[in-house]
Symmetry: C2
């Protein structure tokens, strides 16, 4: 998939995911309205929806139907949104703005922001139960919970808030692999799980996800002149990103032609400009 074609693909997929999110989230008119309003406020318009897009593409790479994976894709985006709301809280990063608009606690107050994060986490996992293959859905739930718990995202966040300004490379790697990487890797793997993929394919998707998750963070650091860009220099960080994306693509060989979207997404992550 070329750069131009990836652009159209991403736009179409974002539209698909946004309309599913709109369908699945409780209506603003439902009682008590403020929590439903606050959930939707943070989910929309949202970012690039890269995690659910990866989930759908991974499902298709395994011969699955993207429509069947839509609830799980929305689940991942909703869970990602929960983590952003809690990260932004005054006790954490204390951010007033996110994606050009007021953060949840600035808009609704801190109590509602905490509860909105809680509600999105709860609701996200509920979406992972949607479907008629209990064993697969339970596998998906296990994988996501492991990725976002103390062995994953929360673990990374704990180390991040306690880190010194001058952080060593192993700690930086731990933070990135857990805080950002784990949910991205899980997005890819869960796409495969919903498609009923073999253990071998699930492992390949997980490693692909780990490589691109790491690259995602390196590119962030290059754009922000932070973290890995400080440790390796811009040139060194860039070379590492290129190397990781090659490794990611190698994992896709066993999927043949069906993995062209995942290849395009790997290139997109390497070349993105915010």
């Amino acid at each position: 998939m070329s750069g131009i074609r990836v652009g159209g693909y991403l736009k179409k997929r974002k539209k698909l995911i946004d309309s599913a999110l709109n369908l699945y989230l409780p209506k603003e008119s439902e009682y008590p309205q403020v929590i439903n309003k606050a959930m939707r406020y943070s989910v929309f318009p949202g970012g690039k929806r890269i995690r659910p897009i990866l989930l759908l593409a991974s499902c298709e790479a395994c011969g699955g139907d993207a429509k069947e994976a839509l609830p799980a894709a929305c689940a991942i985006e909703i869970i990602h949104t929960y983590s952003l709301i809690h990260d932004d809280l005054p006790a954490m990063d204390n951010d007033d703005y996110r994606r050009g608009k007021l953060t949840s606690h600035k808009k609704f107050g801190e109590a509602i922001a905490v509860l909105t994060g809680d509600a999105l986490l709860t609701y996200g996992i509920e979406l992972l139960t949607y479907g008629d293959k209990p064993k697969l859905h339970l596998d998906a739930i296990k994988d996501v919970l492991n990725a976002i718990g103390t062995y994953g995202m929360i673990g990374g966040q704990v180390v991040d808030i306690n880190r010194q300004r001058e952080v060593d490379l192993p700690t930086l790697t731990y933070i990135n692999a857990h805080k950002t990487g784990a949910l991205i890797a899980s997005s890819c793997k869960v796409g495969g799980i919903i498609a009923g993929a073999s253990k071998r394919r699930l492992n390949a998707l997980e490693r692909y996800g780990e490589y691109i998750g790491f690259t995602f963070q390196i590119i962030d650091d290059i754009l922000d002149k932070d973290g890995f860009a400080l440790a390796f220099g811009i040139g060194g960080a860039r070379r590492e990103a290129v190397r990781l994306i090659e490794k990611a693509k190698e994992e896709l060989d066993i999927f043949g032609k069906k993995s062209s979207a995942l290849r395009g997404l790997a290139d997109y992550i390497l070349n993105r400009k915010k």
Copy 2:
């Protein structure tokens, strides 16, 4: 079960649940230690463990094995603990003490307290996946998520933090049914789900749970001279509690002798003194 026998039963069951909680929760020595320490700090020594005890007794009333229901019982207690930590936060009830010791945010700081609540919620749901009956576990997860989400506990909490000092009875009833009642009712129903109980029995357990959950709150209000005790007077509130416990016990008729523990627990909830 007489009052004296209920006392011994509760003590034994608390011991069983505490040792399972100790087994299931991540060790304090695991990295990053602070979050594991904070999770255990709030879970132990804990309260009376009434929710997991109800879950195990409901499982047994349906002919199930309490051992098989232990992970689910621990899940409910862990999820209950998450809700207490977030409720105690400065932005919410701003409590410095809970059960005679410092609240999580007073002990570990607000950032870790938010993350500890998040981690307990995540980990609690993970425990609901433990076992080898995917369909039943998925049903249990669905029921618990519904009980703790915006249609349940979080909904009740949202209305509670936004309520006026002079609250009307329908609002008070909504808050209690959702904030406290939903998780208690779900504890009972999930015990039946794990036992593979029929729809008819699950409905009976849920209604039993709703009646005793409501009673639980009325007794709290009588002891605290709050809520229903203000609206009905102590005598009126007490009469309502007695009526609800009778209704709860009527639901147990279809279970025969196996429901003696649930009957004892209903009386215990009516007669407790804090």
